[in-house]
């Protein structure tokens, strides 16, 4: 009897799921067409609002002609979504929000101000601020993202709270929104709040920070002082990418207090920045006990390209493990004539491994040069 009940339940489930999938497939096409129509209507309304004639030009004056005129336009926008059944109104409102979010990143100046005003007047900012405190992480993260697109300064407080949320996507969206809304001043507090950064977070934040160029350097230098190794590493890598020589003293100052992973990031940054002041400290790290750190130091010297480092690299080539030898030879091949001569001399070495490594880089450089000439 029990088996029969379970079996009929399974048959029922199969039938429901199968029919449900088929119905959903047919319905999705119809819904998509209907939503497109709502979106087109919303886009038309939004265009009228954004391009509508407005009186006055001092938009800073409270209750001035401009503000009154804008309020009138916003009222018209609001009434356009307020027609039809309850379902219709909800759909129109959702479509308008989508249309506004779609254009938010491509507007600037006065039009951007109009859009921000509309976000507030329509109640979208308030809604998102409430959603940014939801118990569900994906709703929070989405709300943080939308507050960014709405340029909602009033959302800053709730965004700061989300910087310490347990979910990384929430933290990322909150951080990006704060940087976007407040600007670079938000960066140092964000970096000091972060306990651990994943590579994904680095990918997301770096894009936003790079848009500020070298203005971000002082804030990243603050971040280097964070207690979190991953934050330190990220800030150092960013300083390397930005390539500002002003960051070199800070990087040198903190070199001796760090874990090998962070030291390697610093060595790489020195190579990218290309400041000769870093050479003494890089040479010091050629003696490190950690193989990967020696490799990073050798590569940094190759990127700096100073002939003064040839002897130190040659010592690595002659005495170290195969991986370090390869890095040293690669660097020597980048240091002009003196490096190449050292490699040529090494092809006569008694040590077969040294000979092979030197020949590899001489030959590959030759191929590259011929290729470039061709």
């Amino acid at each position: 009897m029990f088996v029969l009940v379970i079996t009929f339940a399974a048959i029922f489930l199969i039938a429901i799921i199968s029919v449900g999938m088929i119905v959903q497939k047919i319905r999705s096409g119809i819904t998509a067409r209907r939503n497109e129509q709502y979106l087109r209507d919303a886009q038309d309304s939004l265009t009228l609002y954004l391009l509508g004639d407005i009186e006055g030009d001092d938009y800073t004056e409270p209750n001035g002609r401009y503000q009154k005129s804008l309020a009138s336009l916003a009222y018209q926008l609001q009434t356009r979504t307020d027609t039809g059944s309850m379902f219709d109104r909800a759909m129109r409102r959702a479509a308008l929000r989508t249309a506004m979010l779609d254009v938010s990143h491509s507007l600037s100046g006065e039009t951007q101000l109009r859009l921000n005003h509309a976000f507030s007047v329509m109640g979208f900012v308030g809604e998102e601020m409430t959603l940014a405190q939801s118990n569900r992480w994906w709703i929070r993260a989405r709300a943080c993202e939308r507050l960014r697109l709405m340029h909602a300064k009033e959302g800053a407080e709730v965004l700061v709270k989300n910087l310490e949320h347990e979910n990384e996507d929430v933290r990322i969206e909150a951080a990006l929104s704060l940087i976007d809304i407040i600007g670079l001043d938000a960066l140092s507090p964000i970096l000091m709040t972060m306990k651990k950064m994943s590579l994904w977070m680095e990918v997301r934040l770096s894009r936003s920070i790079l848009s500020f160029g070298t203005d971000a350097v002082p804030h990243l230098e603050q971040g280097v002082k964070s207690e979190s190794h991953s934050v330190q590493k990220f800030c150092i890598e960013m300083l390397g990418i930005l390539g500002d020589v002003h960051a070199v003293p800070t990087l040198i100052e903190y070199m001796n207090y760090r874990v090998p992973e962070v030291q390697r990031a610093s060595l790489e940054a020195f190579g990218k920045i290309g400041d000769a002041r870093a050479i003494p400290i890089i040479l010091k790290f050629l003696q490190s006990d950690d193989t990967q750190t020696r490799i990073a130091a050798a590569k940094a010297l190759g990127n700096l390209g100073s002939p003064a480092t040839v002897d130190a690299l040659n010592k690595l080539l002659l005495r170290d493990s195969i991986d370090v030898r390869l890095a040293a030879a690669e660097s020597l091949s980048k240091i002009g004539t003196s490096g190449i001569k050292t490699l040529q001399y090494s092809t006569q070495s008694d040590d077969e491994e040294v000979r092979l490594v030197a020949m590899q880089y001489l030959h590959e450089q030759d191929i590259v040069l011929k290729g470039n000439a061709a």
Partner: protein, 477 residues
């Protein structure tokens, strides 16, 4: 005497019937749990995907560089197109390591000519022992600066992959099959778990069946279901295996198989484990199990993850003969891996692997076909001795079919709620129909191939068997 035999048969039959019913309940409860876990994992994945713009990885200096390993044996007809296709994948820093595994045709000559290759003096460091390398080639053209071609003595796919791992320069290595078709953003999608967690050591991608799809210039342009029955059955099977199986195992860090057709690995761990094993036909599964074992035994925190986004397409066998060979080989590979790592079975030291994943693969995947076949034999004996309760037999058969259909439909449902890559209503209806139809004949024949795989394994058969493929050209419009 006959009465005694009948008595013995009835005793055996009753005992086996009880065992079969218990086993059936256990297996179905397990599958149902997996379906629920997978559903949760897919929903979580989709929620996270909503905040993942893969183009950001493409533009970032923080993305981890990848070496793509492409082993080739007698691929002169397709090597240029497949290499070009790999070089064009969307990823900021990637190199393609093409390994010519001692081809008897002119694969190497074709590559040298097409990509303007020259032999270099590059030092080959055999961190994993391999067959000798005859030469390493790079291109004189800037456009192919990310291509390295290695010529080596023939040693099989595992050996070719090991050479590729030795040569590769980047921290992540991507192993693919020569006939895999990758989506443009395949690497961007599978690298994401590595960016999310630094403990990730391997990521498997979903492999989908390309038969019936429109393929243009090495890319899937239009997704359609094949008009033939055998590939269509396999589509449902792959949904079950990947969307409800591997997705669920990935969620509990118990994923034991990453398909040889497409997987991304942390090079450092692969090297520490000794690379691919040469003398097994299931080298892809064996490596993943060894990586798990290495990390567990050395107390290294780790994760093996699965990405359900459609990233890789492959051509499925279209004839029973070829499909039979493939399933036979898969089962031998499974058996070999489980016997090599038998120490893990019910061993709490290996966590969820030792207590759940390995026992599942032993008792359900490996022994399942034998138990099912014995069930069919028991029914025949029962009929001979007139001991079968026809009503109960029909009920049991109907119940088993219904549960089989339920899990197939569950897998199709997962596809529909997540990626719905089959946009046509007709294809959806056909998939649902295949989920029902596969229980009458197809399922039984796969059981037979797997039993034959066990038999061949113990006979010492180690060959792959010829895999004739129709080729993707036939699916072009």
């Amino acid at each position: 005497m006959i009465e005694f035999l009948e008595y013995l048969a009835s005793l055996g039959l009753v005992a086996y019937t009880k065992f079969i019913v218990a086993y059936f309940i256990f297996v179905n409860v397990f599958y149902f749990t997996m379906l629920v876990v997978s559903f949760g994992a897919i929903v979580h994945y989709l929620r996270r995907s909503a905040f993942t713009e893969h183009s950001m990885i493409m533009q970032s200096e923080f993305s981890t560089p990848i070496s793509i390993l492409a082993p080739a044996y007698n691929e002169s007809a397709t090597c240029v197109e497949s290499t070009n296709s790999l070089l064009k994948l969307n990823y900021p820093t990637a190199e393609v390591v093409f390994v010519n595994d001692g081809s008897k045709d002119n694969t190497l000559d074709v590559m040298i000519k097409e990509f303007s290759l020259v032999k270099t003096h590059r030092v080959y460091v055999p961190r994993i022992a391999t067959k000798p390398v005859r030469g390493i080639y790079i291109s004189t053209l800037k456009a192919y600066k990310n291509l390295i071609v290695v010529d080596k003595e023939n040693g099989g796919k595992a050996d070719a992959l090991n050479v590729g791992i030795n040569i590769s320069r980047y921290p992540l290595v991507c192993a693919i099959d020569a006939d895999s078709i990758l989506e443009d953003d395949a690497l961007l999608k599978v690298v994401k778990p590595f960016l999310d967690h630094d403990q990730v050591i391997a990521v498997g991608g979903i492999v989908r069946i390309a038969n019936g799809c429109t393929i243009e210039r090495g890319r899937v342009k239009e997704v359609r279901l094949s008009k033939k029955f055998i590939p269509s059955f396999q589509v449902v099977e792959y949904f079950r295996a990947y969307l409800t199986g591997r997705m669920g195992w990935g969620a509990v860090n118990g994923l034991l198989i990453i398909s040889g057709a497409f997987g991304l690995f942390k090079r450092e761990i692969v090297l520490a484990c000794g690379g691919y094993k040469h003398d097994t036909v299931g080298e892809d599964m064996e490596l993943v199990v060894r990586m798990h074992r290495y990390c567990r035994e050395n107390n290294i925190p780790y994760r093996v993850e699965f990405v359900p986004d459609p990233v890789c397409w492959t051509e499925a066998p279209e004839t029973l003969k070829i499909l039979g060979r493939q399933r036979n080989r898969w089962h031998r590979g499974l058996l070999d891996t489980l016997l090599i790592h038998k120490k893990m079975l019910f061993n709490r030291r290996y966590g969820v692997l030792g207590t759940v994943a390995v026992p599942y693969f032993v008792f359900i995947e490996m022994l399942g076909p034998l138990i099912e076949a014995l069930g069919y034999i028991a029914v025949i004996i029962g009929f001979i001795f007139n001991m079968v309760n026809i009503q109960m037999f029909i009920l049991f058969f109907v119940v088993s079919v219904i549960y089989g259909v339920m899990f197939s439909i569950g897998a199709v449902l997962l596809e529909e709620v997540s990626f719905h890559r089959y946009p046509r209503l007709g294809d959806l209806i056909k998939l649902l129909f295949m989920g029902l139809l596969e229980n009458f004949g197809y399922r039984q024949i796969t059981v037979w191939w797997r039993i034959k795989g066990v038999w061949d394994y113990f006979r010492g058969v180690k060959t792959w068997g010829t895999m004739q493929r129709v080729g993707f050209a036939s699916s072009k419009k």
